[in-house]
Amino acid sequence: MFNNPFIKQLFGSFLDLVPILAVVLVFQVLIIRQPIPDVGSVIVGTLFVILGLTLFVHGLEQSLFPIGESMAYAFARKGSLFWLLTFAFCLGFGAAIAEPALIAVAEKAATIASNGKLIAQTDAAKAGYALGLRVTVALSIGLAILVGVLRIIRGWPVYYPVLFAYVCIAVMTPFAPVEIIGIAYDSGGIATSSITVPLVTALGVGLATSIKGRNPMTDGFGLVVFAALMPTIFVMAYGMAI
């Protein structure tokens, strides 16, 4: 019964990988012209990525997205401000913690930090660093969604919080430890990926639809950018704290 959409999804995940594989292949064949070591494991890994993406997106479309979206609309339409803001925060936090790209890159960052003798070279220290990074990012995304929702309700122009975040980042950078700046600047883009963006966009558009005088086409946007900037501020603060 679900065979058909599943295979469609499988093909869609394959299409996501095609541009990367094509560019790598062209460079390997035409420019580098060297054998790839471990071709077997790369092929197995690529198949795993395709299968994983398919199951992931298929699962999201069956569970999280329909409920999350209808709830975002329901909360936006009625319900108290308190519950709306609490929901916005929890949604941002939960989505960021579950984000697979963030899981993978946080692990990578912990390995780099431990090789660079920034943290102890034990598995426990690495796991602690990676989790600390992810929780920091998730807290900041929760807060960013909360502020973004307030912005839509109050009708502030979208560039106010963005300008504020830019100034914060520019002011904090000279004081943050140099080792954290790269990952701090990257963390926003990493975290606003497959789960966060659709749920947050649904919340923003739902909210802008239900408030009088707001245009879903224009006021509904601007949540994602704030979610992409706030982690930079928080991760730099995390770097100063540890």
Binding site: P19, F48, V49, K108, N115, G189, G222
Partner: protein, 259 residues
Amino acid sequence: MIGWSIHFAMKLLETCRDILPIAATIIGFQLLVIRKPLPHPRKTIIGFFYVLLGIVFFLEGLDLALFPLGSLMASQLTTPEFLGVNPLDQAVFWQSYSWVYIFAASIGFATALAEPSLLAVALKAEQISGGTIRAWGLRISVAIGVGFGLALGTFRIVTGSELYLYIIGGYIIVMIQTRFAPKLIIGLAYDSGGVTTSMVTVPLVTALGLGLASAVPGRNPLLDGFGLIAFASLFPTIAVLGYAQIAQWLSKSSLSSKP
């Protein structure tokens, strides 16, 4: 086989912990605040199980394929034999690494152009602007933006210059563009930065940056390795704002030139 099953079970447990907050948020708010039962409990639980399995396979595949591929490309494009320089010569000029910049630009351009969520954004932008902005024009300008951003990002890693100079410079450009861009498009332009960093692009680009920082003499992955994603999320905003501006000028001048 037994070792692999234990490894798999451990990963599954870890992933359970990772999706617990979002599952608790959705189900908790549905039952306690909205006070309605879940519409399709069976389908939801099966869906969550798919998500779990999907994340485990995806992360496993990243470690086997995308991470090694990114660092392999970085190391193969920077070997002294490939660059045609003397391996003992420590002072390598940034011009020697032109294939690295071309590779980064191609990856950025190709992934952005094929990104499905960018298509959705582009169609919405066409709708908001009443047709002044063309979906295809927007997609191509974003793809050029990401490609240029990644090439500039790899240039920064090769030269070891400060990341914040580029990014804060970019922020200033965005703020100046915001001043002049059509007001309706600003929110969408800001959000387009998050759209281009998909689940498959992020790991490959990260591995490319880290591999480059460990392969280029005098660079340190800890200090120089990250930052490419920041470029990939800033430049689409500049590209969309720039394209909207140009499209507005073009439509104005074509209107005023008509009798």
